[in-house]
């Protein structure tokens, strides 16, 4: 392994400050993507800035819906009963991701910022209307350089107790966050603070289905998430407020807006679901790769869209039955 320096900032300010000051630096959270890239010799930054020790980044809070810090591990999310019950698609994603060992350290922030088209947490966040809270360096102020840095020592914690925040915060919709394979809107020096997910309201259920070759330790051949709010219309269940998202069928995870529009206001009969699946498939543009053939992925969009919607409806109707 090529040599690098490793920093452990304790606050967001420190992390941003270090990123501004250090040459050839990269953020690292759980390390399950970054260290793999290192080992594959695809990257070799001289400095790694760890986000693991920043308290502000690791919380999961039920307020105004749901707040998940970027440093929350997949394990943390999996064990969270509130998420399991109310944001089930996210539970589906993290519980099938990697292995126990990976889930214990890998973070939702890492999964999203790595922005692989196959990122398991992306489709659930897309259907849950997540907003990404981004923090980054200010471009006006230049904080004074502490003398310890001049001495060549690692940057100490600073701004302790003070309220000064030498960073700015803004939000984007998760849908606007992804630009392409491994590409996001994050600019140099920025990092994701966390995800704000609105409360979904009653009669809403969500699901994520990951299509894999084996039952564990697998990337998805493709994945589909759905979220549906059900309205009872006499005997029928009408689908209001539908969201459908698909992964590995485009350069980035995408919403199937055509299928969503089609489904809205309709009863989820077999024929309707079949058509929704066909529309979603027409919105998908999967490629051939050694991991899966394009024609098969397109076919599976049809099947998984149907199944994800049905599962979401099941959960909307019977919210206790989740796992």
């Amino acid at each position: 392994m090529k040599a690098y320096e490793y920093y452990k900032p304790q606050t967001i300010q420190e992390a941003i400050y270090l990123m501004e000051r250090l040459e050839d630096a990269r953020f690292i959270a759980g390390g399950t993507d970054v260290l793999v890239l290192f080992r594959q010799k695809k990257i070799a930054p001289k400095n790694l800035i760890s986000l693991r020790n920043i308290k502000d980044l690791i919380g999961i809070e039920e307020r105004d819906g749901l707040w998940i810090g970027c440093g929350a591990t997949h394990s943390d999310i999996m064990k969270n009963v509130f998420i399991g019950q109310h944001y089930s698609a996210l539970y589906d994603a993290v519980s099938n991701l990697g292995s126990c060992q990976i889930r214990n350290v890998a973070t939702i922030g890492g999964n999203i910022c790595n922005a692989a088209p196959s990122a398991d947490t992306a489709c659930p966040l897309l259907v849950l209307d997540a907003r990404v809270v981004i923090v980054g360096p200010t471009n006006k102020q230049n904080p004074p350089v502490p003398s310890s840095e001049k001495a060549g020592l690692p940057a100490p914690p600073f701004f302790e107790g003070g309220q000064e925040r030498f960073f700015i915060e803004h939000q984007v919709d998760i849908d606007a966050f992804f630009l392409g394979p491994n590409k996001t809107v994050l600019e140099t020096g920025e990092l994701v603070k966390g995800f704000r997910i609105p409360s979904l309201g009653d009669n809403t259920g969500s699901a994520y289905i990951k299509h894999t070759r084996r039952q564990a330790m697998d990337l998805p051949i493709l994945g589909v998430a759905a979220r549906v709010t059900i309205e009872k219309d006499g005997e029928n269940l009408l689908c209001n407020d539908v969201r459908i998202a698909m992964g590995v069928v485009a350069p980035r995870p995408i919403r199937a807006r055509g299928a969503e529009a089609f489904l809205k206001g309709k009863t989820a009969s077999d024929l309707v679901l079949q058509e929704a699946g066909e529309i979603a498939a027409s919105e998908a543009s999967p490629r051939d790769s050694f991991r899966g053939e394009a024609w098969y992925r397109k076919e599976m969009v049809k099947v998984l869209t149907r199944r994800a919607i049905m599962k979401a409806i099941e959960r909307a109707v019977q919210p206790q039955e989740v796992k």
Binding site: M1, H211, R213, R214, Q215, A216, M217, D218, L219, F290, R291, G292, E293, Y296, E299, M300, V303
Partner: protein, 760 residues
Amino acid sequence: MDTLSTVGQRIPKLDAPSKVTGNALYIQDLKIPGMLYGKILYSRYPHAKILKIDTSRAEKLAGVKAVLTGSDIPVFKFGVMKDNPPLKTGKVCSVRDELAAVAASAPEIAEEALTLIDVEYEEIPGIFDPIEAMKEGAPLIHEEMKSNVLKLPWKLVCGDVEAAKTESAYIVEDTFSTQWVTHCCLGTSGCIASFDTNNNLTMYSNTQIPSLAQKDYIEALASFGLKNKRVRIIQCTIGGGFGSKLDTYAYEYLAILLAMKAHKPVKIVFSREEEFFATSPRQCTVTRISQGCDKEGRLTFREMDMILDNGAYTSWGATTPSVMMMPISSLYKVPNIKFTAKCVYTNNTYSQAMRGYGNPQATFAIESSIDQLALTAGIDPSDFRLKNANEPGEITPQRFKITSCGMKECIDAVVKKLDWQSKQGKHDGRGVGMASLIHVGGGARVYKSDGCGTTIKIDDYGKIDVFTGATDIGQGSETVIAQIVAEVLGVTVDDVHVTNNDTDACPWDVGAHASRTTFVAGNSALGAAKKIKAQILEIAAKNLGADPATLDIKKGIIFSTIDNEKNTALGKVLRNAHYVSNGQMLMAEYFYDPANENFDREFKGNLSVSYAYGAHGVEVEVDKQTGQVKILKYIAAHDVGKAINPMLLEGQIYGGGLMGIGYAMGEKMIFDKGVLKNGSFLDYKMPTAKDVPPVEAVIIETDDKDGPFGAKGIGEPGLVPTAPAIANAIYDAVGIRIKDLPITPEKVLKALKEKEKSLL
């Protein structure tokens, strides 16, 4: 028959304690003082001329102690066709080709040195399809060979197939293909080469063939200018074999050459990437098969023709046809056989031994075709198999002498446990399928010797040391041998210590292959134990004033079977024999070479002393929308002769079975113009714990007259019939037949859609 006290017991593996504590030392864990680390530079292209290799920058890197290219080493080629030099010169024929090797004081330095070696290539168009390679005018992979088709004699003819065709009521014909899969040993390949001041070599190794490797290295040393040197092989704890360590590899010769140049021990250990692309996988095959039967469903003929992609160099993959002949000629009673196989050079990777050694590939074709034939003849596939089942006393067309044979019992077990009668033929998305197997169970005379030696010594207290040539690759041969010896000598396994990992101390053995260890090494240990028992009883007889024939040993006591008063402790007898003038310490040796035969020129002869049989049955459910196949139930019935250790035996059945399921359903090395694309555990779909279906092992004991305590081999049979059993079950479930492995959801869905279309 006496009740047995250790044989037949579920005794935990003797080496398990050192493994569960992390104390067992694998090659990865071993360090020798002064040791250097070796790394290998591989080719960038699958087919190219080597114009120039410049190692000057690498040699200057601090910490680098030796750099070698093909022009620095004596002319030497290894491999079964002697076509493989450890470092290539002139041209490269695959991306596995080794171009240079470096030894340095740290692995990171050796790796960096590789990046400083400059190679100039001139690319040549590559051939990646054996059919292309066989065409007129195709570029030659090895110019000196004059043809891309290897000169190998793979042809077996028994009876008259053409005549049999005219007498058949039903005939089926089809083509089946199997893929490259790899062993995925959790412990990667590696060795340490270390010379003493007299240039005698010690190899720390995880080889499965210590005696043969020793011979290979002695010959290599002679080629390298070191004639008449000793070679000692010390086997570390082996992190998995499955056939991957059945041949000697370039990296071993490179470790030796680097050690020679640097005058220091050199360790080479493969990274996981290297383990994937630079070790030799299971032989892939394309098989045309035709089988026929009469009106009653009795098989009349079997005709098979195979094309094997030999890759760039030749290892054991090219010899798999010799083992494939076994199921081809002897799985079920088939009077007329014709088999030919061609091995063709290409610029792909090259294959060697992998658990089953050709049998799984051939059985996939045969057993899929048997189902096709049975259904064409309107006969239930299980009945068809029973009708044609092998029987004890049979002599097959290849002149195998079948002694013990539990094939029918295995098929019956599968039928019963799968509830075959009520589940078969429903075609409603769920189905059942089965397949049988034959494999060698009593050694296999593939070399001139199939022997294994054992020496035993016993100390003053009745503690026994057994030195066996047999290698334990994790299957538990050490434990089985201890059980056999303990049984004969009336002690517990705690009193028996087995040494099996040092050619300086251990006798010759041809290797851990062909599922032969329990049978051959077991018989060898049995013979030595009986000899030493005779010595003990002779001495005891004098002490007790009894006839040795009336004495026995149990629980460390030598006693008379006819006089209760006459008994003495084993230790006492031994000490009395030792601590006198003209004293003696007891030792015995026994080299057991089974009475099997080498093939004659027609590939006929009794390859093994006895044969193992089995049948696997599986119930599947096919998701018609996704093409995914779920295994609802898996039955693995095996005729093992005698289960010396039922717990270890079950371990082989479960392990083999899951490896077979991986072979059938998910594993495939994906190459693109000779380059491996999925050389990682992420993308090579080896089964995980969550992929284990409900599985039941059924052990059938037919008590083989030649096996130690009646036992036969089990190491390989576990994965021979899995693929056809699953393919047959899928056909029963949804009426489609996948003929090329692995059976993926894509293939199933495609076939289902084509079937739908054809029905419209």
